[in-house]
Amino acid sequence: MNDIMRNIYLITILTLRETFSRKIFIAFFAISTLSLITMGIILASVDVESFMSFFGQKAQNNEIILSEILSGLKLMIVSPLFGFGLFLSIFSVSSLVPNMLEKGNIDLLLSKPVARYQIIIGKFLGGTLVVFINIAYLVIGMWILFGIKFGIWETAFLYSIPMITFTFAVLYSLIIIVGILTKSSILAMMLSYIIFIIISPILAFRENFYPLIDSKATEIIIDVLYYIVPKTSELGTQMSDLSISGGIDDFQPILTSLAFMILILYFSIIIFNKKDY
């Protein structure tokens, strides 16, 4: 047991080091820092009093109004954060598996007393950890800026850290399996973007198209697709709700996406276990 944990830990650490050594990660970090600085400058230049009078409210129930305005502001920040953070995250991990599978590199790993499933789990944890660190940096940074400016330290805002990381992890499992099957980082990246930007949003709104579709069979197929494909779009919406109100009303998108992730990782291991290198 100890050995297993240690192997997974070592692969995770190597994955972290690999990402840290790459330009894309440094760029990710730099962009995050730049966003924080820009946000800081904007916040510093607004005055809370005049800000509120701008909205036409006389400060009677200051606290409530303030928090309402804040909600709006947060939404304006959180939603792009989700899209932007995920976009960069996918970009920065898509080559992890293809790099590992390169001739001469994979031989070294596989010849060690490490089981193949441990390698996959380590890669998964490593990539997820990298993204977690980066997203946490960005979100906590924003949270601190807001706290300092408005004196409100709501923890709900911080829920976007696990939510973005989780959504990323679901897509990352897909990147891993495509990487194992094709050794192509481009393909892995494209597939994730297509799901994230096109398929998931369309499927989330599928009921709006149903009046346009005559056949019941097509509707069923679309429904099935909806439950299979990771629900990144709804996860994004839920994250916004969560960071404002602090609650989730429907756990279905999270649970089905989690099931998707576990299944895909499981298949990745099965396929990896059979491959010659």
Binding site: E18, K103, G104, N105, D107, L108, S111, P113, K274
Partner: protein
């Protein structure tokens, strides 16, 4: 004690494809004893690398079994006692030489205790100590190879598989590597070596096996293999392509050196005498005769040619 046992290994790559189907190993069996240096020889594409990869769980056999240290090769923990230098290995470029050894040592299950001293002494052994803080990215091919060798030894393995260990290493470095191998053997380690450099193999290996198109064509000690079939150089006073010579040599296998000289390969002295008798009967006089000691290289080349010819005739 047999430290490696291989039973009827067969590996077919892409079995379902007509165009890219390759039989890399064909019913291959072999045993390797403890504390020996074993050399596996064979032309490009013979299946040498494939064999090592199967033993290390990198490639899976189509059929057959193998054991290392009396454990089935499917058991990944057996690799705790195995060191491996792959051909064309690539270490993560962002690590330094020292980091590489530290990282792979930990993956091999080494404890951190005394690891630093071990790393330093190995880096000194392969003459890479002064580069230990340099990133692998800027290493030359020979430096990579030296680091690769150190990496194969870091976990104090009982068996070491080396795939072309002297590839890209200068002559001086090769000598150093040979000395390291002999030293390891004297410590009781078993070394399994893949090589094209027959003259080197001859210098260090106790036993060799020759692999050709996935099949084992010969196995034995270096001495056995190089002197098993003797070759005589015979010079006569008639042209080799004359009718009379052709008649006399019917049924013997030989190669032509020049117009008057032939190289005869004999299984026994009697066979040699028989040819001499034939020459004399036909009035051909023998001007000179001397035994040729075959180098491993000559033997190798002849053997591969022979096997190919036999196949072509079939």
């Amino acid at each position: 004690m047999n430290i490696i046992t291989i039973n009827n290994l067969t590996k077919i790559f892409n079995p379902n494809s007509k165009s890219s189907r390759v039989t890399a190993l064909n019913n291959f069996s072999l045993t390797v004893n403890e504390s020996t240096i074993f050399g596996l020889l064979g032309p490009n594409g013979a299946g040498k690398t494939t064999l090592i990869k199967i033993l290390l769980g990198i490639v899976f056999p189509t059929s057959g079994t193998a054991e290392i240290l009396n454990k089935k090769i499917d058991d990944y923990l057996v690799r705790k006692h195995v060191g491996y230098l792959p051909e064309n290995h690539k270490f993560p470029l962002y690590l330094t030489g020292e980091d590489v050894l530290k990282y792979y040592a930990q993956l091999s299950g080494c404890s951190k205790e005394g690891l630093q001293e071990k790393i330093d002494s190995l880096l000194k052994l392969v003459k890479m100590y002064k580069w230990k803080r340099t990133k692998v990215k800027s290493y030359s091919k020979g430096m990579m190879q030296r680091l690769g060798l150190a990496h194969a030894l870091i976990a104090d393995p009982k068996i070491i598989f080396l795939d072309e260990p002297t590839d890209g290493v200068d002559p001086l470095g090769r000598k150093e590597i040979r000395d390291i191998l002999l030293e390891l053997k004297s410590e009781g380690k078993t070394i399994f070596l893949n090589s094209h450099l027959l003259s080197e193999v001859e210098l260090v290996c106790d036993r060799v096996a020759i692999l050709h198109k996935g099949s084992l064509v010969r196995e034995g000690t270096v001495v056995d293999i190089t002197t098993q079939k003797e070759i005589y150089e015979i010079k006569i006073n008639q042209k080799l392509d004359s009718e009379i010579v052709r008649k006399s040599t019917e049924g013997f296998s030989f190669s032509q050196k020049d117009d008057y000289t032939l190289h005869l390969k004999v299984e026994s002295p009697e066979q040699r005498d028989k040819l001499l008798d034939k020459f004399r009967q036909n009035g051909i006089s023998i001007e000179a005769m001397l035994p040729l000691k075959t180098s491993l290289e000559d033997m190798f080349i002849n053997l591969i040619h022979e096997t190919d010819n036999r196949e072509d005739n079939e």
